[in-house]
C-alpha cells in the first residue's frame, strides 16, 4: 500500500473512516453473504470501482470509465450515480450532468439529485446553457453536420469510443439537439451500457415527450436495467398518445405479459387487429389467456392458429393442456396424438412425461404408439 498515505496521518484517518464506512455499508446492505451470492461479489466489485473512481478523481475520463463500469453492474446504486453526476459536473458537462441527475432522481427519488437536475433543467429549457437544434446558426450547420457524419462513420467502424467523444462534444454545444441525443443513446445501446442509454433517452424524452421513438428506446433501456414497471409506464404513456404504433404495442405486450396481464391483453388484441395472421402474437395471446384461466377464449385462439397451420406444435400442445384442465382427458389424448405426428420422438416423450399428462398413455402404449410413427 502507499507510502504517502502512511506518511500522512490525517489522510490516513480519512481513508480509514471512508474505508470502514464502505465496509459497514456493504455489510449492512447485504448482511452475511451467502456462499453463492453473486450480488455480494458484485457489490464488492462496485465498491472497488468506486474506489478506483475516487483514486482517479484528477483524471475525470478514467474516473468516469470506472463509474460507468460500476453502473453496468449496479444500475440503481445511489453511490455510483452520485459519483457520476459529480464527475460530469466537475467536467462542466451540463447535459451529461442533467442526464445523470435525472436518471438518479427518477430511479431513486432522492431530493439532492432532483435539485441538481431541476437547477440544470431550467437552464437547458431556457437555452441558457446552449442553443438547441433550431438555434444552430447557419455558419455552424456545416460543422455540425460534418461532426454527426463523422460520428456515424465511427459507429459504422464500431469505434464507439471516438463516436461518443464526437457526440459528447456536440452535446456540450447543443444540449437539446435530438439527433445528437438519439445517436448517443444508440451508441450506449451498441456498447450495451444500458444505464447510460437510459440516461440519454430519458433526457431526450424529457425534452421531446411527444416522440414515440424516444419513448420506445427509453422503455427498452429501462427493461435492460431491470426497471420493468418504469418501462411499462413509459410505454403506456406513449401508447396513450400513439395507440396504433406497432413497435410500442409489441414491446408493451412483451414486457407486460408476465407482470401486467390486462395491459398485455389489450396490446395483443390491438396487434391482432392489425395483423390477424401473425401467429406469434396469437400464440402469446392464447398462452396469456390460458394462464389467466380464460380457457374458452384461449381455446378459440389456439384453434385459430391451427386453422392457419394444422401442424402447429404450440397450438396442439396448448389445446391438450386446456383439455386436461377442463377434465377432458380423451380430448387431450386426441390433441397429443396429433402432436405425436409432428414432433420428434424425444420431444414427444418429454411432453407426455409432464405431470399434467401423466396417465393419459399407459407406459407400454406410449412406447408402442411412438414406434408406429413414420
Amino acid at each position: 500500500m502507499s507510502v504517502n498515505v502512511r506518511r500522512s496521518g490525517i489522510r490516513r484517518l480519512v481513508t480509514t473512516c471512508a474505508a470502514l464506512g464502505v465496509l459497514l455499508g456493504i455489510v449492512s446492505a447485504h448482511g452475511a453473504p451467502a456462499t453463492d451470492d453473486v450480488a455480494w461479489v458484485n457489490s464488492v466489485w462496485v465498491n472497488h470501482l468506486l474506489w478506483r473512481a475516487e483514486r482517479l478523481s484528477n483524471d475525470l475520463i478514467a474516473a468516469e470509465a470506472a463509474c460507468r463500469q460500476a453502473l453496468g453492474v449496479a444500475p440503481s446504486s445511489g453511490r455510483v450515480i452520485r459519483r457520476l453526476v459529480d464527475i460530469y459536473a466537475r467536467g462542466g458537462h451540463a447535459a451529461m450532468t442533467a442526464m445523470s441527475s435525472w436518471y438518479g432522481w427518477n430511479l431513486l427519488g432522492v431530493q439532492d439529485l432532483r435539485t441538481v437536475f431541476t437547477s440544470l433543467w431550467l437552464q437547458v429549457e431556457s437555452g441558457a446553457v446552449a442553443p438547441g437544434t433550431d438555434d444552430v446558426l447557419q455558419v455552424q450547420r456545416e460543422e455540425f453536420r460534418e461532426t454527426i457524419t463523422a460520428a456515424r462513420e465511427k459507429v459504422r467502424q464500431r469505434n464507439l469510443v471516438e463516436a461518443e467523444l464526437l457526440l459528447r462534444g456536440l452535446l456540450d454545444q447543443y444540449p437539446r439537439n435530438l439527433p445528437v441525443l438519439l445517436h448517443l443513446g444508440n451508441i450506449y445501446v451498441l456498447a450495451r451500457e444500458w444505464a447510460m442509454a437510459t440516461m440519454s433517452f430519458g433526457y431526450a424524452a424529457r425534452l421531446y415527450p411527444e416522440n414515440p421513438d424516444i419513448a420506445n428506446n427509453l422503455a427498452l433501456a429501462l427493461e435492460q436495467i431491470g426497471q420493468m414497471e418504469r418501462a411499462l409506464q413509459v410505454l403506456r404513456q406513449a401508447l396513450e398518445r400513439y395507440p396504433d404504433t406497432d413497435y410500442l404495442l409489441i414491446n408493451c405486450a412483451r414486457i407486460a405479459d408476465p407482470r401486467d396481464p390486462a395491459t398485455a391483453r389489450q396490446c395483443y388484441r390491438r396487434l391482432l387487429e392489425f395483423w390477424p395472421d401473425k401467429r406469434e402474437y396469437r400464440l402469446r395471446y392464447a398462452r396469456l389467456l390460458a394462464r389467466e384461466g380464460e380457457l374458452q377464449e384461449a381455446h378459440r385462439q389456439y384453434a385459430a392458429v391451427l386453422q392457419q397451420n394444422p401442424d402447429n406444435e404450440d397450438a396442439l400442445l396448448g389445446l391438450a393442456s386446456i383439455a386436461v384442465r377442463e377434465g377432458d382427458r380423451e380430448e387431450a389424448r386426441l390433441w397429443l396424438d396429433r402432436l405425436s405426428t409432428v414432433v420428434a420422438a424425444d420431444q414427444w416423450k418429454e411432453i407426455i412425461s409432464r405431470p399434467e399428462f401423466q396417465g393419459i398413455y399407459p407406459a407400454e402404449k406410449t412406447r408402442t404408439q411412438h414406434e408406429q410413427q413414420p
Binding site: M1, S2, V3, V5, R6, R7, G9, R12, L13, T15, T16, A18, A19, L20, V22, L23, I26, V27, A32, P33, T35, D36, D37, V38, W40, V41, N42, V44, W45, N47, H48, W51, R52, R55
Partner: protein, 320 residues
Amino acid sequence: MNSSHRTQSPGPAWRTAPPYIRAAAACASVALAIMPAYSAKLASVRETNISSASEGEAILTLREEMAPRREPPPAAAIPGALARAQELLERNPDDRDAYLRVGSLFLMNGQVEEAATVYWWAARRWPSDPAVLDNLGAALLAAGDGGSAAVLYDHLVAEYPDNPDYRFNFASALYGIGAYDAAREQWGKLEETGGTASRRAKVLYNLAMTELALGRTNAALEYLDKCYRVQPENPFALWAQARIFARQGAVSNMVDRLEKVKRLMTESDFELIVRHPAFAPWWDEPFFRKLRGEEPAASGSSSSAVKVTPHSEGSIPRGE
C-alpha cells in the same frame, strides 16, 4: 490456495536503477513491511505492483524466503500470451483455470486492474470458489484497494477460519485501510497458530508494524526482538528497530542494530537501506561517515552536534 496461478517475481532490474530510485526503494520497503508471510501469490502480486512503479524490488530480493524468485517470461512474450489466454477464455467460458491464468498473466504484465476484472468475472461464475475469491482479493490488495479486499477476506475467513493465508491477507487488508486494531487482532490470532520460522517471523514483524501504527513503540520493539529471535538471519527486524531508535534519538542502539544488519547483508544492499530518511538526521555520525569513506569527524561534531531534535515516541510517523 492455488499456487499454480501465482505470478512470478520480477527480475533484478532494480540493480540498474539510479541511486535516487534505489533510495526510494528503501523507503518503499517500509510500506512493504506488511506483506504476506506465506501467501506467495500476494507477495509476488505486490512485487509486480511495485516493480511497475520502479521501486521496491531491492528489498524484496533480499527476502528470498518470503517470495521465492522465479524468472519471469521475457516481457515481449507477455502480450501475445495475454491475447492467447483471452482467446481461450472466450472459447471455454466454463474453464475456471483459464480465468485464473488470464488474471495471473495480467498481473505479470503489471495490469492489476485488468487482472482484478478477470478475477471478478470468475467470481461471478464461481462465487463460492475460495481460490477464485482469494485471487480477486489478492488483486484488489495489489491494486491498493484494501477496503474491498477486506470485505472479501472477511467472508473467506468466516468460511474458512483455519486457513492462515486468508487470515493473513485479511489482516493485510485491514492494515491497508488503517483498521489497525482489527488488523492487530488478526495478526494476534495468526501468532498463536505457529507455523514455520519464516511464517512466524513475518507475523511478528507485521505485528510490530501494526503496534507502531497504533503508537505503541515499545510493543513494536518487543515484537521485532521476537522476530529476530525466530529468524536471526533475517535483517529486517533489526533494520526496523534501527529506524525506530533513529527516530527516538537512541543513537547507540541505532548503530548497534545497523552494525548487525550490515553483517547480514551485502554491502551494496546495506548502502541502499541506510539511505532511509529515518537515518538522515544522523548522517554525520561516525558510523555513517565511515560508511561513506570520510574522515572521522573532529571532536565536537558528534551526535550532539547534529541539529535535529530527536523524535519523541509520539512523533513517530503512523504507519511505518
